[in-house]
Assembly symmetry: C2
């Protein structure tokens, strides 16, 4: 067999094992018995050791040196394999295993601390996570900073400096929009009776409407909504809150965007390095455009208003316009995942700066809660009331995801670009959305972006989908200004 | 590190990976999206390849040669490791992977064929399973027959000849009891309203009563009830039938017996070769004693009658005695898992003889359905009405479990021995069972058998639990004669 074919056969098995490891995480967050946590951390560690051994297998290096790609797709495969191989070789096996074990255990500790509103109960574990991630970053970093080394895992090619520039661009406009909205007339929220079972049933229907293939996935409840898996087994989770149906609805649409990206990748790439979303930023562009530009649009809200009244009865809002304002209301709140489109990126900037400081060593974990609370008050103008609404709200750091948060904002920026291109390319999207049918939009996204998987680099695939226009924050900022100036005419 | 310690560290990771592979099977039978079957077979194949590579790792041979066990437990660990290593080395990696892939896929094909009542739809797949299992048996067999080589996987030390002698001992008594019962007054069945949700809730309660630790496991629905996993993550499944609540109740108690064995093993053996039940026969001794000697006893039926009337209302039987007869009624039926204690072993004998013939090559898969139907009519006196009630009723052959069926009967025999010892050792079990509390019995089983895991050989652990008495069919046959002569006084 030629080196390329041998390498691809090896890689196929590695990808299959990575799917198994991913499903183990799904299991842990949805169905695992709580008493299994310790044993599970050994299991996860063992899987990580297997994957690490495969990725660092010296034969991969030999194959890479000898392999000739048969075509452009093959070139892209080799690029991804080389990337994973180089990364894995830099991280000692012992460290990789230790990280997998720790982050398997630490998630439960975070969840318990969050439930108890007690950062101190989580801090020693987080300290250990930060210590190991800094060690990993040091092993990975060749020229850039520790933070850039971690960021590259989620957004190949991006640097903290690029993101800082992007955030600097966005901040003044967002702060201005936020001020305008908070000074305007406060929008009503919805109220009514939203049984958890009915929310979940609606979530299943919504996922299907946005083209999630339920025969190749499933929807369950979890503390933190997520999407997991690639190819023919892509599972999503959501959560329900008795007094806030939008939490479940928009978490679901968001995760559906992630899942449709994975499900929509060219089947020829299945269980190959190209068979997954190319970066977290591009992934978030899908989840965010499904959630926001489509799901929170006036047209879709028209349908949603009728549908929700049918499912849940009176919603406590006077009319469709008030419902649309409720969906998009800008108001005080602590929680990132519940934030409106204007304030969302401000939540990210806070996390981005804090995690950079944690990774550089400028901020110690013992000072993190105070730093979070200070920064929150500075940025949002009021105090965090409890740790679960502050530093403990997100799962990410507990499982070692440093460098992940800014990809949410990058995803928003990409979503802004894609939305502009989509509106230009496809007529009468609103007509369909008004009937509760996002299909013309999701189909365009599938055709122009999702199916490519890891075939093109992150910025490249966005640029291609946008007819050659390089991504920038401009389209997102214009979209937000138009939308929220109309909502808050001041 | 000493060879023994290195070996045990390696083994610990292997055991953790085996748990992951086992959980993948659980996932497949409970929550996996149906469209994921093809991809899953690649994932299972990849896991199998990893496990096979670890078990055949030449370092294991070196470590085994150099290792010195620190104590008796260490000796037992080495014995189990040597056994797995020898077995794995005999089976070519390609064959092991092919089998894992095929049996992952074939289970779905079996389930579909069973639902469609169409053996022909399953036959080509089963042919391939038989072909690969024969190939595997040929690789494994050193002196014995192909069948013995496969049997040894499930019941180390047992041979077809030993089982044939055991069955020859049992058959006349069972046939006589069966004749007596079927000629006697037919027992009523129960009737009433048994909603699936209420059955499932009751199943959860029953599992807890029999000391299943729900914080280290979970109960779900599946087509075929099973128990899966070891240590702190031992999951069971059950099923519900609208017109037969005993199906769910006794499947649940049966699987609880398996699960309590796994959960009850000395925590010091966790993720070591001793951290699992020692054989399927011993495993079945636990599931069957929970299900039958305890669960179908007059004392437990006293409690069950009251409890079921409270949960389900009228049961359509006149009194407690009639209820007890309904639980234990001997009547015509096609399905092994629903068979009474008398006929159960006759179902096994049929499968044992047919699978021996399949493995030896004396019976072709294309002739299997006819052979099954002929033999069933000979043994039971009436014709199989459809494939789902005949040759397609059990999952085992579809996943390559040849040599597994006779361990059910061996388990019954062991259960008979343990029951005799238990009754001698623990006073007033019936008093507790009458109050719905099997704990004194399960505690004795835990103390005398379950906690040992793989520490002693199968017959040895039974003999020890029985105060030195070697296992034989005698106690089971006496128990059955006493019980069913009383039920059917003739």
């Amino acid at each position: 067999m030629a080196a390329y074919d041998e390498l691809m056969a090896h890689e196929r098995e590695t990808q299959a094992l990575a799917q198994v490891a991913g499903r183990l995480s799904w299991d842990q967050e949805t169905v695992m018995p709580r008493g299994a946590a310790e044993q599970r951390s050994e299991e996860s560690g063992a899987m990580e050791a297997v994957l690490h051994a495969r990725r660092t297998d010296p034969r991969v290096g030999d194959w890479l040196a000898a392999a000739e790609a048969p075509d452009d797709v093959g070139e892209a495969q080799l690029r991804q394999i080389r990337r994973a191989h180089d990364r894995a070789r830099k991280v000692p096996a012992q460290l990789a295993t230790a990280l997998a074990r720790l982050t398997s255990r630490s998630q439960g500790i975070w969840a318990a601390a969050r439930a108890a509103d007690d950062f101190a109960a989580f801090a020693p574990t987080l300290e250990e996570v930060v210590r190991l991630k800094r060690e990993e970053a040091a092993a990975l970093a060749e020229t850039g900073t520790l933070y850039d080394a971690l960021l590259d895992d989620f957004e190949p090619g991006a640097t903290a400096a690029m993101l800082e520039a992007m955030f600097d661009d966005m901040r003044p406009g967002l702060v201005q929009l936020r001020k305008r909205a908070l000074e305007g007339a406060a929008a009503e929220g919805v109220s009514g009776d939203f049984p958890a079972e009915a929310q979940l049933a609606f979530a299943r229907d919504l996922a299907a409407r946005f083209d999630y293939d339920g025969t190749r996935g499933r929807l369950d409840l979890a503390v933190h909504p997520f999407s997991s898996g690639s190819g023919d087994d892509v599972r999503i989770t959501t959560r329900t809150a008795a007094d806030d149906p939008f939490n479940c609805i928009y978490s679901t649409i968001h995760e559906t965007g992630h899942a449709c990206y994975e499900q929509g990748i060219d089947p020829a790439f299945r269980l190959t390095p190209l068979g997954q979303g190319v970066s977290m930023g591009v992934h978030e562009s899908q989840s965010r455009i499904y959630e926001n530009q489509l799901g929170r649009s006036p047209a879709f809200c028209h349908w949603l208003f009728g549908e929700m009244r049918e499912r849940f009865g009176d919603l406590g809002v006077s009319d469709e316009a008030a419902f649309y304002r409720a969906v998009n209301r800008v108001h005080r709140g602590y929680i990132r995942t519940e934030a409106d489109e204007v304030q969302y990126n401000l939540h990210i900037m806070l996390r981005f700066d804090l995690e950079k400081a944690l990774v550089s060593g400028d901020l110690a974990v013992r000072d993190l809660e105070a730093a979070w609370n200070d920064r929150f008050e500075t940025d949002f103008g009021y105090k965090v009331d409890r740790a679960a609404n502050g530093v403990l709200q997100d799962v990410h750091w507990s499982v070692g995801l440093f460098g992940y948060f800014p990809t949410y904002s990058l995803g928003n920026v990409y979503a802004g670009c894609l939305h502009k291109a989509l509106r230009n390319a496809v007529p009468d999207i609103d007509g369909h959305l008004q009937r509760g049918d996002p299909t013309p939009a999701t189909r365009w996204l599938h055709e122009n972006l999702q199916r490519h998987g890891g075939r093109y680099r992150p910025r490249e695939v966005i640029t291609r989908a946008c007819g050659g226009e390089e991504p920038s924050a401009g389209p997102l900022m214009s979209y937000l200004a138009d939308k929220f100036c109309a909502l808050y005419p001041g």
